[in-house]
C-alpha cells in the first residue's frame, strides 16, 4: 500500500539517504587513508599532509613489510590458530550442544548450569595466568588453541538451533536403523550447518584478531600472533622493525624517494586485515544469519 509522501517525509527520506552516505564514507575513509599512507613515499623527510591519493605511489612499504621474517611467522601462527582453533572449538562445542539439545539427557539442567557459570564468574587474570604457566603452555603455541576449545555462548546458540530441528527426521532415521553416531554425525551436524558456519565465522574472526593472549602468554617474538605484532609495530615503534632486514631497508633508501615509518605501519595494518576485508563480502551474510536465528529462538 502506498500513499502520497508529504513534504516532511520527502525531506526526511533525502536526509536519511545523505546520512547513510555520510555514514558509509565515515566507515570506509579510515581504511582508504591507510591504503594511501601505505602506498605513499616521500621526497623530503615526512609525508605531506592529508591526501586522498598517494604521493609518489609505491608498493615498497609492502615489500619491506613482507620481507620481515617475524611478520611471516606471525602470519603462519595466526593462520594455524584460526584454522585449528576454530575447527576444534566447533567440534567440541557442537558435540556438547548436541547432547544438551536432548531433553532426556541425564542431569541436563546440571550440565546447563555448568556451562553457564563461567560466563559470569571467572578466576580472574592472575589465577588463569598461573594455571597456564603450571600447565607448561607458556610460550607454547597450543596456548592459543586449548583454552578456547569450548565456548559456552556458542554452545547455547548451537543447542537452540538443534532443538528447533524437526524431531521426525531423527525418528525416521532411527526406524531406518541408523545408530546414535550416524544420527549425530550424518544427520544433525549437516542439518546444523547454518548455525555452525555462523559460529565458526565468529570464532575464526576472534582468533584472527587475538592479541592479548599473545602478549601475556608468550615471550619469544616468533610466537607472536599477527594482531599482537601489529600492536607492537603501531604502539611500541622502537623495537618493532627488528625484523625488517637492514639490507632491504638500505636498498630501498638509496632511491630518490623514501619510505617513512608511517607507511610501514599502515602497510602492516593493511596486511593484517586484508584477509578479513577480502573474505568479508562473501561471508557477511553468514555472520548475520546466526545472530538472528540464535537470539530469536532463545
Amino acid at each position: 500500500m502506498t500513499t502520497k509522501r508529504s513534504l516532511a517525509e520527502k525531506v526526511f527520506d533525502i536526509t536519511n539517504i545523505f546520512f547513510m552516505i555520510f555514514f558509509t564514507i565515515s566507515i570506509l575513509l579510515p581504511f582508504w587513508l591507510q591504503i594511501v599512507t601505505s602506498t605513499s613515499a616521500v621526497s623530503g623527510d615526512r609525508l605531506a599532509g592529508f591526501r586522498l591519493f598517494p604521493s609518489h605511489f609505491t608498493m615498497n612499504a609492502y615489500k619491506l613489510v613482507l620481507s620481515n621474517a617475524l611478520l611471516l611467522q606471525a602470519y603462519v601462527n595466526t593462520i594455524f590458530r584460526t584454522v585449528a582453533g576454530t575447527l576444534l572449538q566447533i567440534i567440541v562445542t557442537a558435540a556438547f550442544a548436541y547432547s544438551l539439545s536432548k531433553k532426556y539427557l541425564w542431569k541436563r539442567n546440571f550440565w546447563t548450569v555448568v556451562i553457564l557459570i563461567p560466563l559470569y564468574f571467572s578466576g580472574g587474570l592472575i589465577p588463569t595466568f598461573l594455571l597456564i604457566k603450571g600447565l607448561g603452555l607458556y610460550d607454547n603455541l597450543l596456548v592459543y588453541i586449548l583454552p578456547g576449545i569450548f565456548a559456552s555462548m556458542n554452545a547455547v546458540f548451537i543447542r537452540n538451533y538443534m532443538m528447533s530441528l524437526p524431531q521426525e527426521m531423527e525418528e525416521s532415521a532411527r526406524v531406518d536403523g541408523a545408530n546414535e553416531i550416524t544420527i549425530f554425525a550424518r544427520l544433525i551436524m549437516p542439518l546444523s550447518m547454518p548455525i555452525l558456519a555462523t559460529v565458526a565465522l565468529w570464532t575464526g574472526v576472534g582468533h584472527w584478531n587475538s592479541w592479548f593472549d599473545s602478549m601475556i602468554y608468550t615471550n619469544k617474538p616468533e610466537n607472536s600472533t599477527l594482531a599482537y605484532l601489529l600492536y607492537r609495530i603501531l604502539y611500541q615503534e622502537a623495537q618493532a622493525y627488528n625484523g625488517v632486514s637492514r639490507d632491504a631497508m638500505r636498498a630501498l633508501e638509496s632511491q630518490t624517494v623514501k619510505i617513512v615509518p608511517e607507511s610501514l605501519q599502515a602497510a602492516t595494518l593493511m596486511v593484517t586485515i586484508l584477509p578479513i576485508i577480502f573474505l568479508y563480502p562473501f561471508l557477511q551474510r553468514y555472520f548475520v544469519k546466526g545472530i538472528v536465528v540464535g537470539s530469536l529462538k532463545g
Binding site: M1, R5, S6, E9, F12, T24, I27, L29, P30, F31, L33, Q34, T37, G49, F50, V92, A95, F96, S99, L100, K102, Y104, L105, W106, P118, Y120, S122, G123, G124, L125, I126, P127, T128, L130, L131, L146, P147, I149, F150, E171, E180, I181, F184, N209, A227, Y228, L230, Y231, E262, A266, L269, I276, I277, P281, Q284, V288, I291, V292, S295, L296
Partner: protein, 325 residues
C-alpha cells in the same frame, strides 16, 4: 526406541523416592549406560571447562593469601582480609572506580540509543540495494580488532596526515594531538566505540522489526497515520521489550570496561583518566606482580557484578517477560 526408553526411565526417576539408595543408584547407572554416547560427547567440552574455567576459580583464594611461588596457591599462608582491606585504603582505587563508572555510564548514554536509531533509519530506507550495501559496510568494523581500530583512529586524527589536520587547517584552528588531551581522548573513546559497534548492534533491533506484521502499518495508513506516527506508535513500541531487557542487563557491566579498546588507545598523556578497573587489575597483577591484591580487586568486582546480575534479573522478572532464569 531410545527416546521411549528414556521417557520410561524418567518415570522411574520420579518414583525414585520410594526406592532404596542402592536401587536408585542402580537405576541412575542404567540411564548413564543407555546414554553413554550422549555423555561421551560432552566429555571433551567438560574437560576443557574444568581445566580452563573451574580450576582457576580456586585461584581466587589468592585474594586471602600471601602468595609464595614455591609453596603454590594451596600451600601459601592465609592472611585473612588483608588485601580486601587494602582495596579500601589505597587512594588510587577510588579514582579507578570513578573512571570505570564514568566510562560505563557515558558509554551507555551515548552507545545505547545509537544502534536503535540506526536500525529505525535502516528500516525507513526505501531503496533496497542501497540499504543492503550500507548495512553490510556498517557491520565491518565489528570484525576488526581494537589494535586495528585504534590504528585507524590515530591516523584519522593525526594533525599532519589525518582528516583532523586537514579540517583544522581549513577552519584555521590550531592543531593539537587530540589523543593526548584528556577530554578529547574520552570523547574519542566513546565515538570510536559507537563507530565500531553501531552497525552490528542494529542487527538485533532490525530482526525484531522484520517480525512486525505489516498489517499494523497498513491499518495505520488507512487511519491516516503519517510515517513518523507509524514509527512512533508501531515500530518503537514493538522494540520496548528488547530495549527494557537490554537496559536492565547493561547494569551488570557497570564495573567492566572495554579493556581492549582502552589498552590500545591509551598513551602516557592520558594515564590518569584511562586507568579503569580492568587496566588496573592488569597493571597491578602482571606488571607490578602484586598477584594477591590484583586478584582481590577482581574478586570484589566479580561479586558486585554477580549481585547486579541477580538484581537485574529480579527487575526483569517484574517488568518484562524475559529473564535469564
Amino acid at each position: 526406541m531410545l527416546k521411549l526408553k528414556n521417557e520410561k526411565l524418567e518415570i522411574y526417576n520420579q518414583k525414585r523416592k520410594n526406592v532404596s539408595l542402592i536401587g536408585s543408584l542402580k537405576k541412575e547407572w542404567r540411564i548413564v549406560k543407555y546414554q553413554k554416547f550422549l555423555l561421551f560427547l560432552i566429555l571433551p567440552g567438560l574437560a576443557a571447562l574444568i581445566i580452563f574455567h573451574y580450576i582457576p576459580m580456586y585461584g581466587v583464594l589468592l585474594a586471602f593469601k600471601e602468595y609464595s611461588p614455591i609453596k603454590g596457591i594451596m600451600g601459601s599462608p592465609w592472611v585473612g582480609l588483608r588485601w580486601i582491606n587494602q582495596i579500601i585504603i589505597v587512594p588510587k582505587v577510588g579514582e579507578v572506580i570513578k573512571n570505570t563508572l564514568m566510562f560505563s555510564i557515558l558509554g551507555l548514554v551515548t552507545g545505547f540509543p545509537a544502534p536503535i536509531i540506526l536500525a529505525i533509519l535502516f528500516n525507513e530506507l526505501r531503496a533496497h540495494r542501497f540499504k543492503k550495501i550500507v548495512q553490510s559496510v556498517s557491520y565491518l568494523p565489528n570484525f576488526l580488532s581494537w589494535v586495528v581500530v585504534a590504528g585507524l583512529v590515530i591516523t584519522m586524527l593525526s594533525p599532519r596526515i589525518g582528516l583532523y589536520g586537514f579540517i583544522a587547517d581549513l577552519l584555521g584552528i590550531p592543531k593539537v594531538f587530540l589523543m593526548q588531551k584528556e577530554v578529547p581522548w574520552v570523547i574519542i573513546v566513546l565515538v570510536s566505540s559507537i563507530w565500531k559497534g553501531v552497525g552490528w548492534g542494529s542487527v538485533i533491533y532490525l530482526a525484531v522489526m522484520s517480525g512486525i506484521n505489516p498489517e499494523y502499518y497498513d491499518a495505520a495508513i488507512v487511519d491516516g497515520a503519517t510515517r513518523f506516527q507509524r514509527v512512533r506508535f508501531i515500530t518503537i513500541p514493538f522494540l520496548y521489550p528488547i530495549i527494557t531487557l537490554n537496559i536492565i542487563f547493561s547494569a551488570t557491566g557497570l564495573l567492566s570496561s572495554n579493556f581492549d579498546q582502552i589498552f590500545n588507545m591509551m598513551n602516557p598523556m592520558v594515564l590518569d583518566v584511562s586507568n579503569v578497573i580492568d587496566i588496573y587489575i592488569y597493571r597491578t597483577g602482571l606488571l607490578e606482580a602484586q598477584f594477591e591484591f590484583s586478584t582481590a580487586i577482581g574478586l570484589v568486582r566479580t561479586v558486585i557484578s554477580v549481585l547486579l546480575l541477580i538484581g537485574a534479573n529480579q527487575i526483569a522478572k517484574r517488568y518484562s517477560e524475559y529473564t535469564l532464569w
